[in-house]
């Protein structure tokens, strides 16, 4: 379970998060959405124990992220937005490193690594330097690393970045399967149709505040919006956005008109 209470984070004058509160129970896939700079990654970093909140509290699996960060880190799997890896290591080495950091038995690491690499069709690339792999292949390694130690809570920050359609489909199945096994999943993404299909609940953040929180179907019906995308736009887009786009396009030469 993830429990966030009145979480606030400021960077100097900038308020990245303000009084954010929510609870994600075990077995739920919760979409965590927001425009760029809304505070999604900040929240996730706080939940991973790598960033201290300015005020408020957050606990993961019953452990406070500030007072018991180690207990939190032992229980989470994290796929960061950047997905950067140590480029001079191989997938095998990288996963062995992750296993060692989680103090797993080497035999268990080897067994789970083999299974993950097979699932993601990375067996042939297991001993290649990570910087020689494609972005999608590296992302699969990052996802494998997040799931290697069988975490209770999984924090996905744009997990489908760089993945092909088949791999993305597989990840969506995995996410659902994890929730069915009682894992708590917080899923941050800008791909709203995926979130709509995958997450039974969504939290929408705008400028550091929660502007919507509820079961996906209920939110759509109560707001009378057909899709999550239209709901999202109604909550987070500025009113004059369409006018701004029109004005912007006006600065381009109209090739069609010129031809005519």
């Amino acid at each position: 379970m993830i429990n966030v209470e009145r979480l606030t984070k400021t960077y100097g004058e900038t308020e990245a998060l303000r009084d954010v509160s929510f609870i994600v129970p075990a077995g739920q896939v919760c979409g965590y959405l927001g425009p760029n700079g809304a505070g999604k990654s900040t929240t996730v970093k706080i939940l991973t124990g790598t960033l201290r909140p300015t005020s408020g509290a957050a606990s993961v699996a019953g452990f406070d992220v500030v007072d018991q960060p180690l207990e939190v880190k032992r229980r989470i799997g994290y796929v960061p937005e950047t997905g950067t890896v140590y480029s001079s290591l191989s997938a095998n080495e990288y996963l062995a490193l992750v296993g060692a950091l989680h103090e797993m038995e080497p035999a268990e690491v080897a067994e789970r690594t083999a299974r993950m690499l097979e699932l993601f069709q990375l067996k042939d690339a297991a001993d290649r330097r990570l910087d020689t792999l494609s972005k999608g292949m590296r992302q699969k390694v990052v996802i494998s690393a997040a799931l290697l130690h069988d975490p209770e809570i999984v924090l996905f920050d744009e997990p489908l970045s760089g993945l092909d359609a088949n791999a993305a489909w597989m990840i969506k199945d995995i996410v659902r399967g994890l929730a069915d096994r009682g894992k708590t999943v917080l899923y941050c993404s800008h791909i709203l149709d995926v979130v709509e299909r995958l997450c039974e609940r969504v939290i929408i953040l705008d400028r550091g505040r929660v502007v919507a929180d509820g079961m996906t179907t209920e939110l759509l019906s109560s707001s009378k919006r057909a899709t999550l995308e239209t709901l999202f736009r109604s909550l987070t887009a500025s009113e004059d956005q369409q006018e701004l786009v029109g004005a912007f396009l006006g600065s381009f030469t109209n090739e069609q008109a010129a031809k005519k």
């Binding site: 790598t50 960061p80 950067t84 480029s87 062995a96 060692a100 080897a110 910087d131």
Partner: protein, 559 residues
Amino acid sequence: MSARTDAPDTTLTDRVLRRLGVRPRPFRALLRAYVLMDFRSQQFGRATAAKPKDLITPLFWVVGQYLLLSFITSAVLFARVSAFFFALVHLGVSMLVIGTSLVVEFNEVVLDAEDLNVVGHQPVPLRTYSAARLTNLLGYVLMMTAALNLFPAIVGLGLRDTGWAYLPAYVAAALVGNLAVVGVLLLLYTTLMSGRPSDAAREVLAWTQTILIMIAFYGGQLVLRDGQDRLEMAAYNSPGWLEYLPPAWLAHFVDGASSGAAWWIPGAGVLFNAAVWALVMTRVSALYGRVQPGGAAWQRATLPRLREPGALGGTWARLLTRSRQERAAFWLCSTMLGRDQDLRMRSWPSLGMALALVLLGLFMGQLGDPFVSRNMANVVLPIAALYLLAYPLPAIIHNLNFSRDHAASWLLWSAPVADCFAFTEGLRKAVTYKILLPLVVALFVVFALVWRDPLHALLHMAAGWLVVVGAGHAAQIGIMRRFPFSAPASRGAITGGVALFGGAVSATAMSLAAVHYFAVRSPAGFAAYFAALAALVLALRIAARHVVQQKFAAAESYE
């Protein structure tokens, strides 16, 4: 179609740039971006966990240190030596420091493959990238030149044998000398890099750098060994070979400037620089053309399999470490030292000092057995070499903060690392056992052969080993503030951050060397000293455990 073309040339600079094959607008934009990045660099703050408001950009640290260096040398030499010697020392130091700084930060200041990741897809010719990079580098060199020569240029005016012409002559000599050093080094490196596969070429560069530092240290030893009046004597009876060094040519010009001496020397220097820099421009452009985004194609793609699937490191790693996390750190550090060429280039030169002293002792016949010889001149070098082993550890451990893969450190920050001290122990042990131990063994062999007494050599190097371990713990206290490889390698941050701390550690070690000199005179004295040294190492270890835990707890985040 609305593709842009460059605006017509409006200024002389634009026309000159076009003549050189450089597009003015992108050139200016890139240059502005590089300069802004230099001055806004936050990496030093990240590496030192400083708060944003307390940040001093790495460039200012370096400039400050160079100003301090030139102030001290000016103060030491003023009124003791002639104008020639005064100019010789300062021009030599300036050229050496700028040359080594360029070598150490080569990838940050000259050829950065990341550039093409960021701007490679933009419609900018390679020659324009190179011109912007080199102009930025030129600004960097000029700033360092100013810092290293400000005091010598002003203080030198007060020397008895100088006149008003000293100032312009000195400034001209410093500019010509430093630009020539940088130009020649660039030409050397870029020629090597384009002529061989990258890995091999960079191995060569790393050794070139080590040898350069060693050569520099030979020169430095002449100054270090200057007791009482020897500095003055050396200044007035300088060895003949000095005349063959370019700083001496420039110093002669500075010395004779008041009497209307040969201005053809800087004139020739300007022509030389123009030729060298034109060649450099061509070489760097060609190199940028060869560098592909990511640069991965240069590396060996397939790595050896793990000996035991799921486990890191072999028998040695298991024997030397106490926990899985410590082993992970040991393995990560060893692997990065083995595979990260930048890291190796930055790390190896620091080993040169101790080696240089031993070689100097061998060549000068001054590598006496301190347990036997009472002649100070005979035993200073072997003892100093021992204590100079303290320097590489802080330098290398500091280097471990930086990596091109710094963004990947999220893994370490979000991992449940229970004992941060154990993690840093893994790093320290990797550097100590993988790099320093072979050096200590090599020195033991040299001393055992030269002294014909393996026991004395063993005792000598045992003390050296304690120095190494102690310096490692000191580095844990003073340098390790966060996870390794978590700060980007930025200009000035690498050389700027460690100089003061490394200097303090080296100074402490050299003070211990003085105690060592007296302690070896009797077995009891040496035993007592050895025990005290061991106690000091133990105390440092206890302090390191405490400090590391505190610092890691205070470090907030990887971004």
